[in-house]
Symmetry: C2
Subunit: 227 residues, 2 copies
Amino acid sequence: MIRTAVVIAAGGSGVRMGGDTPKQFRPLAGRPVLMHSVERFHTALPDAQIIITLPVGESARWEELCRKYDFAIAHSITHGGATRCESVRNALEICAGCDYIAVHDGARPLVSVELILRLLDDAVAYDAAIPVVAPVDSFRIIEGDIESDSGRCIDRSRLRAVQTPQIFAAPLLRAAYAAPAEGAFTDDASLVERLGVAVHLSRGEPFNIKITHQADFAIAEALLRPD
Amino acid sequence: MIRTAVVIAAGGSGVRMGGDTPKQFRPLAGRPVLMHSVERFHTALPDAQIIITLPVGESARWEELCRKYDFAIAHSITHGGATRCESVRNALEICAGCDYIAVHDGARPLVSVELILRLLDDAVAYDAAIPVVAPVDSFRIIEGDIESDSGRCIDRSRLRAVQTPQIFAAPLLRAAYAAPAEGAFTDDASLVERLGVAVHLSRGEPFNIKITHQADFAIAEALLRPD
């Protein structure tokens, strides 16, 4: 049997959205966003060890929410570091005896069970797998000054938006986090690639969205509603 | 007074979505998507000439919808060509006496009046202006074989998703469409740039989405609902 650990990264303060409740704690269709994310993984991988990274000082609030919502899925908690990278590194310290580790954004509550299982299959086949989707919009890239009002058009057909879960052979992800990190890494795949390992691009889902803006709650609720 | 023409590109068959009704004709919050898009421009620019490009053979259906919904905003119709580029070129032939031309995707019904007016201001200042937003996801770019399962990470902070309306000084857009086009152009700005003219990147809106998938209707309805 493949032993899997799931790190749900919910260490961010959600400051982009305003308010004093981190977005992962806010209710979506009746319960906190983060509970949806955890439940999807528990359904897909009932035996997986689940570790949630929380913002520093937020564990009492989370435990209160778990009581309030009778949230019974077993999980461990670790405190988020200053960055996403530090949060995941903390979580890796308490993953024990697993073959594969999935890292997922707590703010992507719409991930499907099918997507999780497909990514795990691909991780077993390729050691490192991440879900991607082809974007609908055209894109430009800013060259030179980042505040510039001009940018070069890039070929949309070659562009892929990267989602989570990103799943890796456990020793590989540990090695990636053990290597000294310089600069900003927005995802785990980029860290793994520094080791010279190729990351497999798997098929993602258009509606595996990351809740970022206030209106994303209305969007996610619309997507959760049965047709 | 600035004279403006608006080309609403609705010539696509919406085949990505399936079904036999083009997506721009399907109802969103009580009336066809395309009517929302036209209304937003009419509210922002009541004196603008509005030209809609329709798929070949769909004008009878559109006229029927206009009767059914008592749609009274004056507009012209032109038939879409084989490509978006050809559709817009057809529409330019019936724009008369305008100083600026806006080109908008018919499937972006959530564009705000503020965005339209801001883009027109920027077009007046810079001759060519397009709305862009910073993406939330990380992105990768496929190098080499387009079917490849690997891709290079790109710096998200430099990436901008491009929306519409794209607004141009009329002579500039006409010149761009008069020049022989080679290859595929996904937006008007790319055509204009071939003339050596810089396109100004203006601030877009995260929820100025392009309706592409069936579930985008539920998303757009959620966004249209008052809080």
